[in-house]
Subunit: 300 residues, 2 copies
């Protein structure tokens, strides 16, 4: 996610600074290679850093790593944020802006949901398969609004060829995104299946839809709205999508920790706090907690 959007912004001439972990050496030596329906491109020498303290101060800090890496967030944000830096959190899940808000203050945080099929296929190599839209909103705003700074960010993203949609209600947008992530990230791991295998099997497709409806009910209890038209659109988009391995499935397959708490634990706890028990989401959460731990034990 960071490689794709950062790459597009850099290609458009914006000064982008990449904080990298395992891909640092590859990107420093060979640059960043992106294949995309928007056009393949190669950035031969992007600004890249292995160490957070080397980062310069920036206008906008985009947090695009997995929530499972958030332990490194304080050091990274303290390094690159001035008093006026905005933080745009592009992670999956619910309440994923909270860690950034605790560091720089909620009023400087925005969040975005990314609708894209995109995988890292090798060191410094990104394969963007389909979609690409971001829906972005204010996190700390006391009321639903489209702010001036949202419009300015949108203008830059549009100039880089990125579809960015402004959301007056970020939390509602988060629930809409969860309506896809909860069934398809979860079942891709629980069933070891890609999106097409799930949608082509009657039992798995029914279960995906059941989970989606539990997300809709949870959203309703929490003040969001995932309406029937949205559910039908997600199902039909997923049916016609190229067979896709969710990032959670790739993480699990490669022995990396999964984003179980951001994508399942936080929404489950929010639903319960609002008085609703989503039983199938709770079951999927328990299954994923087990599979995540079993995976770590297997790798040890």
């Amino acid at each position: 996610v960071g490689g794709l959007y950062g790459g597009l912004l850099a290609k458009a001439g914006y000064p982008v600074h990449f904080l990298l972990r395992s891909d640092y050496a590859a990107v420093r030596d060979q640059g960043l290679r992106i294949t995309s329906p928007l056009g393949d491109f190669h950035l031969p020498a992007p600004n890249c850093y292995a160490c957070p303290s080397d980062l310069p101060k920036v206008d906008v800090a985009i947090v695009a790593w997995k929530t499972t890496t958030n332990a490194a967030l304080p050091e990274a944000l303290q390094a690159c944020c001035s008093d006026s830096t905005l933080v745009l959190v592009l992670q999956n899940g619910l309440d994923v802006e909270r860690p950034a808000a605790e560091i720089v203050g909620a009023e400087r945080v925005l969040g975005g949901c990314c609708f894209l099929c995109c995988n890292r296929v090798g060191p410094g190599q990104i394969q963007h398969l389909d979609y690409g839209r971001i829906t972005m909103g204010e996190y700390g705003a006391s009321q639903a609004q489209v702010s001036q700074r949202m419009l300015e960010l949108a203008s830059d993203f549009h100039a880089a060829g990125i579809e960015l949609q402004l959301e007056p209600d970020l939390r509602a947008a988060r629930w809409k995104k969860l309506a896809w992530n909860i069934p398809f990230n979860g079942l891709s791991v629980a069933l070891s299946a890609d999106t097409r295998q799930i949608m082509e099997d009657p039992a798995a497709a029914r279960l995906a839809e059941d989970l989606m409806r539990e997300v809709a009910t949870a959203a309703e209890y929490c003040g969001g709205l995932v309406d029937e038209a949205h559910i039908q659109r997600l199902l039909s988009d997923t049916r016609s999508m190229v067979p896709y391995d969710s990032s959670m499935r790739l993480d699990h397959r490669h022995g990396r920790p999964m984003e179980v708490e951001a994508i399942f634990g936080n929404p489950l706890r929010a639903a319960r706090a609002a008085g609703y028990e989503p039983r199938k989401i709770a079951m999927l959460y328990d299954e994923l907690c087990f599979l995540d731990r079993a995976n770590w034990k297997a790798v040890d």
Copy 2:
């Protein structure tokens, strides 16, 4: 199950006739080898048959193969049943006596739930690990009762060293057994885990208990009773059990079809017909349907 109980009856001197499939040649040539906490033993030359039509008429036909083999039931029962033969169905699940009842008449059918840890570990080789009790009841009886013929069967089984408990209410006994099979057979496949791995993980153990409580509620709707003491006993027995791979997990691992309909589909449909929707059992059923089909595709 058939090898163990049939083996114990044969060892005690009862005339037992084994209908075998893939193990036929091994048992014919090398006999039946059983390791068991009741004492290891070897039957060098048991009566065994590969073809149902070779079976003699018997007093009691014990149906101990998987429900997934039931397509062969009519031929087998027609071969070995006289007008007075009793059929004892020792399969797992709910309504598993119905196919036999449709062939010989419900009034000649009894059912039994086997509580045992027992695996076929090679051709003609059975490893009985733990437990061994059967709870048996009348299937076609118009009211709950312990019949004279139940007492006679019990006397023979006891003489062979088999713990057999008489149940006035077979259907209630079936639900009590399902309270173990539904969580532990199902999760062993969904989580690729043995009983100990499930019970030692907080999320998996919580999920097993949730599923057990849904079975208890379903039983209540269907006129059975799975009380709190039974739930606590099952949980504590499973916690202290040697790590056990359920037969369903072994079936799945070896690319054989799983007993999804008998153990999950039938109870789920019974609960729904009685007005209760057990959401986690329904989810597990959908997952297992998918995994079963995916497994067959992988073997193809």
